[in-house]
């Protein structure tokens, strides 16, 4: 046999060895598979804790930032004829609602959801919200004082901040949720006008929310739109950055809960339900509040994170998540043109 065929034979052997052993297959009965788009640094400890407490093996597929790969929602959609996941844990509402409309999800009302405000749950039970993040305005504390910092997203279109504003690509991730929410809230004419003025103000559209944060930290721009957790990680590491909860008194603060859902025709539905029960428990909300993710608990009585005001101290943007999500495609197309993406 030639060298190449030896190599080929060797690779077949390795391929065969890479397949799972029978014992591993047996253990599958006590396992649960979860696809997670919440940042791994925050979600991994939660799932490891569940594994320890329950003894159930948790198989996790984590997502990357939105612009690094096309993401797990595509995988869930591609796998619909033979679902592999039991649970989808999303870090923002848009993807979950797309998956609901594509019939990827199954309804499940968890007993742990008791105490979570009804507006943060799907009336049909396809998703339940928990631990929320906020879309915030980050500002560089060496270049901008708290008094000068913008109070509203409207301020970002003010010529005072010309060339000094960054935001992530509004087609992806939590920014897509935010812009869809603004369109739902303001109506098309007003929202279009706002983004045109933002464009005229030379807004820098960058690849991700963490890049927005990095630009603000380095002082390449003075202010930027990003998420609470991105800013907080930098605050904790001592970087010169602060955050403002925008539109506290007018439009309302854009609140983004995590959302957890059961997958339709999941391979391990009971285990999936148990994991959902755990994720919706006050324990997990406490863990996520205490972590650097500084996520705001939705259960009453769970202490909130430091650095972030409690959820009852400001007006959240009143939002029909489904309505906002249904318009993502159209809003995406509008903004691609307006912002010249």
């Amino acid at each position: 046999m030639g060298r190449a065929s030896l190599l080929a034979a060797a690779s077949i052997v390795v391929v065969a060895a890479a397949c799972r052993s029978p014992e591993e297959a047996q253990n599958e009965s006590r396992s649960v598979t979860v696809y997670v788009s919440t940042d791994r640094v925050f979600s991994e400890p939660v799932l490891q804790e569940y594994e320890r407490r329950s003894g159930v093996r948790v198989n996790v597929a984590y997502d990357t930032e939105e612009t690094k790969s096309t993401g797990l929602a595509n995988r869930l959609l591609a796998e619909t004829n033979r679902p592999q996941a039991d649970v989808f844990w999303s870090n923002e509402p848009v993807r979950t609602l797309v998956l609901k409309s594509r019939e990827v999800l199954a309804p499940y009302r968890s007993p742990s959801a008791q105490g979570i405000p009804a507006v943060l749950m799907d009336p049909d039970g396809y998703w339940t919200g928990f631990s929320a993040r906020i879309r915030v305005i980050a500002y560089n504390t060496t270049l901008v004082s708290l008094e000068e910092a913008p109070r509203s997203v409207w301020d970002l279109a003010d010529p005072r901040w010309k060339g000094q504003v960054a935001m992530a690509d509004p087609r992806f991730g939590s920014t897509s949720f935010h812009v869809a929410a603004l369109y739902a809230q303001l109506g098309d004419a007003k929202a279009d006008d706002f983004f045109r003025r933002l464009k005229a103000n030379q807004v820098r559209v960058v690849d991700s929310n963490s890049t927005v944060r990095d630009l603000v930290v380095r002082g390449e721009v003075k202010v930027g739109l990003t998420d609470t957790d991105d800013v907080n990680v930098a605050v904790e590491s001592g970087a010169p950055v602060g955050m403002v909860l925008p539109d506290k008194d007018s439009l309302g603060v854009p609140v983004m809960p995590n959302m957890v859902s059961l997958i339709a025709n999941a391979p391990h539905p009971e285990e999936g339900q148990k994991l959902i029960d755990y994720l919706l428990s006050p324990d997990v909300e406490r863990q996520l509040a205490e972590s650097e993710a500084v996520q705001i608990p939705l259960h009453a009585g769970v202490p909130g994170p430091k650095n972030i005001p409690p959820i009852d101290s400001f007006t959240p943007m009143t939002l029909d998540y489904a309505k906002a999500a249904a318009r993502v495609e159209e809003v995406t197309a509008r903004l691609a043109t307006i912002l010249g993406l």
């Binding site: 925050f42 790969s69 591609a78 960058v206 010249g340």
Partner: protein
Amino acid sequence: MWGPRSSRTLVIGTALAVFVIVCLLPVVYMLTLTVTTAAGQQSGFGALLLDARQRELLVNSAMLGAATAIVATLIGVPLGVALARIPLRRKAVVRLALAAPVLLPPYVAGLAWIYLGGSRGLIAAVAGRDLLSEWTYSLPGAVIVLSLVLYPLSMLATEVAMRRIDGRLEEAALLVAAPGRVLRRITLPLAAPSILAAALVIFVLAVSEFGVPALLRVRVYTSEVFTAFAALYDFGRATLLALPLLLLSLVVAASAGALAGDRLLVTRRGAGGRPLLLEAWRRPAATAVILVVAIALVIPLLVLGREALGVRSFADVVGGSREAIINSLVFAATGATAVAGLAVWIGYARARAPSRLGQLADVLMVVLFALPSTVVGVGLIGLWNRSGPLGAVYGTDVMILLAYLARLVPVAALALAASVRLVPVSQEEAAAVSGAGWFRTMTHIVFPQIRLGLLAAWTVAFILAFGELGATILVAPPGEATLPIRIYTIIANTPSSQVAALALLQTAVILAPLAVLGLAVSLRESG
């Protein structure tokens, strides 16, 4: 050449069947899906009629691809010539240092240049004012970043080709012409097909790149395909929108083919020939090597290293990655071996095919290689994730290898076809006439002569497999998979110091085995 010789028919037939299953079927699946969804939608194939904005993006992509291919070739070819024909000291180390930038994930190289040239980067800090940020965040900036990462492909292709050129041709030319002229008129034209092939691969890699343009805020067409997947979750539309990119690659491939012609290099370095040696150029070459290594390797590594110093705990970064590192090395090595093992037969079949069919095969390979990785990933899911025996494979690590095969066999086959074409058919015929079986002819005549080409194809497959993210993240079984998956899932929301540390880790992990391999090969050659 296509007689019913059984072992040949069996081997090539099997290889082609495997190729169809692993590389073609996922694409056929996606195209079928696209046609059926487009037929059912109101807009249908209308997505293909690009609007003005999309056409502008396509032009940007073409410029990014072409400029990167040209700049990377302009850096890579002289270095390849130097490695092949200028007696440099410690050549194995020099080659490794020059090749190492290709190991930096392009996104990470982009980050390094931002840390350096952004408006608050190191250069601005040293100079006291912003000198470079306009350039960093621009199309030329993206071209430079991608060229500095991709030139090693051109360099290695040039070196491999030049070492195959018959020294007697150069020796004869040297009787009447100066070395510089011989290089220009004899040596480089003979190596041109390999150089053009490498430029084409660089073009395809550059137009497929999404991370670097997004980071440097350069608007490219890839974002349209990406948006269709990541924002609209519309597989049909995404595949449809990928077609203009594939067409672009096809046009460039056809032009490169026309440029190269069907030039066959009947060349083997003869024992009596004394090939061109450019001893006089030793000093300028050494200077160029130092310059390129400094700019493409040392500066980015230093900048990343400086950024990584801020990391709170290196132990956290490295310790948690052990399993992913081992997985990645095993998968990439197995994958590269499988890729080279399959591609060598496909490449051989292409090299020995009639010329019209061969050119068609080249175009097919380029188009397959240019497919967005998500299209391949979703196609693989659609194909393998079903009940029955196929489903038993889905959900195992074999899917990662299938993703590598689907993504990389086309490019490896292209490269290996080029190597096989340098082996004269007459030698195989002579072996056959002397009574050698086909298998024996392959192992004793063909393989020894394409040894370097095989090694190069394996190495490139190893590097690309090691860094693959787009398709593997879709098909890898849940649980700890590869190092890029681990790194890209961790870097969401970690401070830039940790991102830099992880990037250095990924580079170090892949550099180590390649360094050992490279030194082993050069020791064997010199010994």
